[in-house]
Subunit: 194 residues, 4 copies
């Protein structure tokens, strides 16, 4: 049976690089993947952008009211993907999926028999989960951490929002990196002590 | 630095056995543990009960308004625990902690430098997280799955509620095992197909 | 496809308890397990003994020249196990398997479609692997660590041999716990500094 | 305490990409890394080469008689690395380390307090470990699998050697990819059935 994986990590832990590597691994074996990204993330628009310098256009930009299962079914039936069938669905910025889309991701895995690998961050700048990451934490078959480090050397697990005048602790949940603020992945101690 | 661990698993995955084994491991090395259980679980009252036949009384039965950090501090300062200091906090049925108590568990780990090992289930009979497990999923340093199997042989990840007349899909989130219903750990496919 | 799992840990990390819990989990779901132990371990003879106080007789005591695959096949065909087919093979003290028996364990998993869960220690008192654990490390589908702690509080990964006059650093690889020496699980730092 | 990590995976599982991403993660936080590669791998000479298209020169090309600990100490004391101290050692193709160099890697972690992340393959084309990977499997604090897929869709765990006339089952342990043969990562079933 195929599975729904949630590979979660703090900001800048290398999630997009890992996703692009997995896409490459499948395609080297002549197996096609379907790259999906929720539309809310305006960083790079239709691109999955790795900080290592690699990028790639997604196949499906998913709006909040779109059906993930339909998008997968459409890709299976109508798109010309050469000889290779879609053998995996890879989702970037999966924290921005709706809970319903996460439920669909599970259905794709268990009823369509296509593994779904969702990459995303666990929590926002106030340590609260996003709607998509909460649902993924609830129902994914496997939770796998993508590790990165804090400035102090410990494992970073939280995402601090930092503006021109320093740490920002109040505000909207979603503020894309680089627009009016940036993010710094911190360990719990640095996050709570700052 | 000490960490907050969430060891989650479906019903009957052996969480209480694992907790009692860890307590034993610490005590064999002359290190004391503090056993904590939220008061909501009336099964066994003050006992951690393993289905293998081992049981043990908890040190702290925690009500919803109790402070976990205070309970740990009290244990460190006032209880006569012989020569051994408390070197770990073990929490059974951790899904029933309040979010605030989970925040305190993180504080105990990073500010008191005492590791906290929380054992609990991830989701209820409708695949929704409990208040405690949601918060643990958000802020625990490490998420570790306790595996068990479905009747079909696959890994069980969900908890079905079953009454005398079969599967129950609506009702209160908390209904203690054995009182008016029992639980069966199922894989996603059996859970959704049933 | 079924898998070969190697769940390894230092001495006294709770491997036998975990194995007995897994056996219980299968049997609660009316699925039979086959308990196997290499004959070299004279501790408890035919018993799997948990330090928590639970024990159970093994189904197969395997000599070095015995075929694991044959033992499994025999169990499948000739033993009266009631209605329940063998759905998992559980191996205690798996470090004492021969490399050939480990190869057979992999064959049982992939050709007989029966998962094999092997529990054992990784290395001897000189940090060298046993023949069985080396082979398991090479070919198991999944390596899962059973954690325990050192006297200093860190994770223990090595097994020190201790006699009446202190640490023993030379000698035969196999000396059963309690006969002429005992073992203490230590972290790398305590092990190398002592 | 710092740790020795062995991140192992089959050929083409993305180990070099992951290593380069980790280097990037450290350096973004103004923490320097020391990149090490055993000299035996002639692929790319002094380069760590990722199949995603990213590459980078190593800091230390380690011969079999070289001391890893000395190389790290030299880097700490004499190299002008600007203001950033070396905060991690990253080793590519770690299966080619000598057992002694792996012992030194553990010493660097526990006595120099610098984490060592070793990336390498677990076994050769005959499912036997390399000298370096065997020792890493014995003493690393943490074993982490880098997953990739077989042509059949299952998880690949073995490395088949393939020549112009098909599968090669006998020969020297080391034959660098692309020179006289190539490698294909396979699952256990495809590997053993072929």
């Amino acid at each position: 049976m195929s599975k729904l994986y949630f590979r979660y990590g703090a900001m800048n832990s290398g999630k997009s690089t890992a996703l692009l590597q997995v896409a490459h691994n499948f395609e080297e074996r002549d197996q096609a993947v379907l790259l999906v990204k929720p539309a809310i993330d305006t960083k790079g628009n239709r691109q999955v952008v790795s900080r290592l310098g690699v990028s790639r256009e997604v196949d499906v930009l998913l709006n909040k009211t779109d059906s993930l299962r339909q998008a997968v079914t459409d890709a299976l039936s109508t798109r010309d993907r050469g000889l290779a069938p879609v053998t995996a669905v890879l989702i970037d910025e999966a924290q921005f999926l709706t809970p319903h889309q996460v439920d669909e991701a599970l259905e794709v895995a268990i009823f369509e028999e296509i593994p779904v690998l969702a990459y995303g961050i666990r929590t926002d700048f106030q340590t609260r989960s996003f709607a998509g990451s909460q649902r993924l934490m609830e129902i994914a078959h496997t939770l796998e951490e993508m590790k990165t480090i804090c400035r102090c050397g410990r494992k970073a697990i939280f995402n601090a929002r930092v503006g021109d005048s320093g740490r920002i602790k109040e505000g909207a949940q979603v503020m894309i990196d680089g627009e009016h603020a940036r993010y710094e992945a911190l360990c719990a101690k640095c996050f709570l002590s700052d």
